[in-house]
């Protein structure tokens, strides 16, 4: 077993165990922490794939922002110090359907790619591109030949969310004033 395989097994093991903990822990706060660990494992897999930018984005967005948001939501909605709750609730059926569909998708993708040469040797990327990969990403986002439309749509969505947040947080103006 090479060092890389060992690290891969460790990182994916962390991801899976943490993922299982997320759905089985009875303490919601602990479940949120386990979810962070799981996100961390995914970031580790990105690093092993040579996608440093994606890994940093994973850390920044999923651990630094989304998990914090979830923890705040847990702290502010439950009675804070007794976040004991059963993880099995009325959405078990929907969860089962989602899980089965995701599993089928994964099996489908993996069996299609199995024995593909991509597994034997990763595609060679010139170092010039690897060094400028963020620049490339940035110019692809705004070039008409690439991803400008998805980029603008995502920006509009975020802008709408921002305006919505400001509107919700805006102090109510009294009528008689």
């Amino acid at each position: 077993m090479t060092g890389e395989q060992f690290v891969f097994l460790a990182v994916s093991g962390l991801t899976i165990v943490a993922g299982i903990l997320v759905v089985t822990l009875r303490n919601l706060f602990h479940a949120a922490l386990a979810m962070m660990l799981s996100f961390l494992g995914v970031a580790g897999i990105y690093i092993m794939l040579g996608a440093g930018f994606l890994a940093a984005a994973q850390l920044l967005i999923y651990i630094g922002a989304i998990s914090i948001l979830i923890i705040f939501a847990i702290m502010l909605t439950r009675r804070m110090m007794q976040a004991q709750d059963t993880p099995f609730n009325s959405q078990a059926g929907a969860g089962l359907v989602t899980a089965v569909l995701s599993f089928i998708l994964l099996v489908f993708v993996i069996t299609r790619l199995w024995r593909n040469e991509i597994f034997d040797s990763p595609p060679e990327v010139p170092t010039a591109i690897m060094n400028q990969i963020v620049v490339q990403l940035g110019s692809d986002f705004v070039s008409p030949g690439a991803y400008v439309i998805p980029f603008i749509v995502a920006s509009m969505l975020l802008l709408a969310a921002l305006i919505g947040a400001v509107y919700v947080a805006w102090p109510q103006v009294e009528d008689e004033a």
Partner: protein, 422 residues
């Protein structure tokens, strides 16, 4: 694999030993792994040891500013070993875990706090070739890691089973999350100017330090890094007059010491990052490129000069940190958040857009402009923005004063106001 002991010694002296070892063992994966682990341990230990120096310096300098002597007993007249004594004291203290505390969260929070600070040093270039790892997304990596430090604070606050700790953690997180925004927006300005997110790329692009290009962005970054590290005047997380001691109220002994160490390491890194992004990092009038020969081996004396330059620049920034702590009164939490969202964020957004558009236009209008010309144009636009902002703020405050004046008059003469009302 043969390693020449003399060459190893020379490499150790000019700080390139880590890169040298990596090169020597590049062909042997297992040995390379061990070398890399050694590199990580070295990079993680140096900032931890630096905490002793930084902590002592701060106490001494602050004492002088407040007309005191400061540490003067342990380790000679200047109290050099005071921090060592403090750490020994903390180590020998009992670690108390409060009743009802969440053990996992409580015990992992201080470790995480130190970890997130130490991890930052991986991308700090000490000299032209002396860096843990030259990531092409280094600045992004720094932002990602420092956003994780918020988790440590939440863990500490929640795990302590203490409402004051939890409230303190909420306030800390509110402060850190909000000041992250202007910090990111203002560090984007040097990234735009350098066309690179790697820390080495940032330094190499600064033939003229970026503080000359964009002094206002540097100021914003400085203020938000003060807030990110919880320094005065943004230190209401742990000030004596505030909610007890914030998120680390319940921590004792070395667990509390770990939070302190993490904080000092983060401060050191912020000073170094400021130097790297705005003051030219390890660059010192080209002296950082000097090489000579010792015993037949090339000796990069420039590395030592570069490291010294970075150290001195960071030390100056750290001195300003201490100076502010010795001088300024503290913000209230509402002032702090208002200042961020109503001033810093919009201001840094305007600044970022101006620099982005202007830098494009400069290269369209003057395709072969020198660095000096580019710096002058950016400097002019920056000063213009600053002047406009000050004017807008002045008018706004005048308007607020004028609106307040009748009320002030009325308060001074209550009877008159009463008569008016009827």
């Amino acid at each position: 694999m043969q390693i020449d002991p003399i060459e190893l010694l020379v490499r150790a002296l000019d700080l390139t030993i880590l890169a040298y070892l990596r090169e020597q063992f590049a062909e042997q994966p297992t040995a390379l792994l061990i070398v890399n682990i050694v590199i990580v341990l070295t990079l993680a230990t140096v900032p931890l040891l630096m905490v002793f120096v930084v902590g002592w310096t701060e106490r001494k300098v602050l004492a002088r500013m407040q007309d005191r002597i400061g540490p003067n007993r342990v380790g000679g007249r200047y109290g050099v070993l005071q921090m060592v004594a403090d750490v020994v004291k903390m180590m020998t203290k009992e670690v108390i875990i409060p009743a009802g505390a969440d053990r996992w969260a409580y015990l992992s929070a201080p470790v995480l706090a130190v970890m997130t600070s130490v991890l930052l040093f991986a991308v700090l270039p000490l000299a032209p070739a002396v860096i843990g790892v030259d990531l092409n997304v280094a600045v992004f990596y720094v932002l990602a890691i420092s956003s994780v430090s918020v988790v440590a604070i939440l863990l500490a606050g929640w795990g302590s089973n203490n409402k004051y700790a939890l409230l303190g953690a909420f306030r800390s997180v509110a402060q850190l999350v909000s000041y992250e925004v202007p910090m990111i927006l203002s560090i984007l300005v040097p990234i735009l100017l350098a066309r690179s997110m790697s820390t080495i790329g940032l330094v190499e692009a600064q033939n003229i330090p970026f503080i000359v290009f964009v002094p206002v962005a540097a100021l914003i970054f400085f203020v938000s890094s003060l807030a990110e590290t919880g320094r005065s005047p943004f230190d209401l997380l742990e000030a004596e007059s505030e909610i007890v001691a914030g998120f680390h109220t319940e921590y004792t002994g070395m667990y509390f010491g770990l939070f302190m160490a993490g904080e000092y390491i983060a401060i050191m890194f912020m000073c170094a990052l400021f130097s790297t992004a705005f003051l030219g990092g390890y660059r010192f009038f080209g002296l950082e490129e000097l090489t000579t020969t010792i015993m037949g081996y090339p000796f990069f004396v420039g590395n030592l000069i570069g490291a010294a330059a970075l150290f001195i620049k960071s030390a100056i920034i750290f001195f300003i940190f201490m100076w502010l702590r010795g001088t300024l009164p503290r913000f209230r939490i509402d002032q702090l958040l208002n200042f961020n969202w109503k001033f810093m964020v919009p201001f840094s957004l305007v600044l970022l857009f101006t620099v982005a558009v202007l830098d494009k236009l400069i290269f369209v209008w003057f395709p072969d402009i020198t660095d000096g010309g580019r710096a002058l144009i950016h400097l002019a636009s920056n000063l213009l923005i600053a002047a406009a902002t000050i004017e807008i703020l002045r008018r706004r405050i005048q308007r607020q004063r004028r609106a307040l004046e009748p009320a002030v008059v009325a308060e001074a003469t209550p009877d008159l106001e009463h008569a008016h009302a009827h």
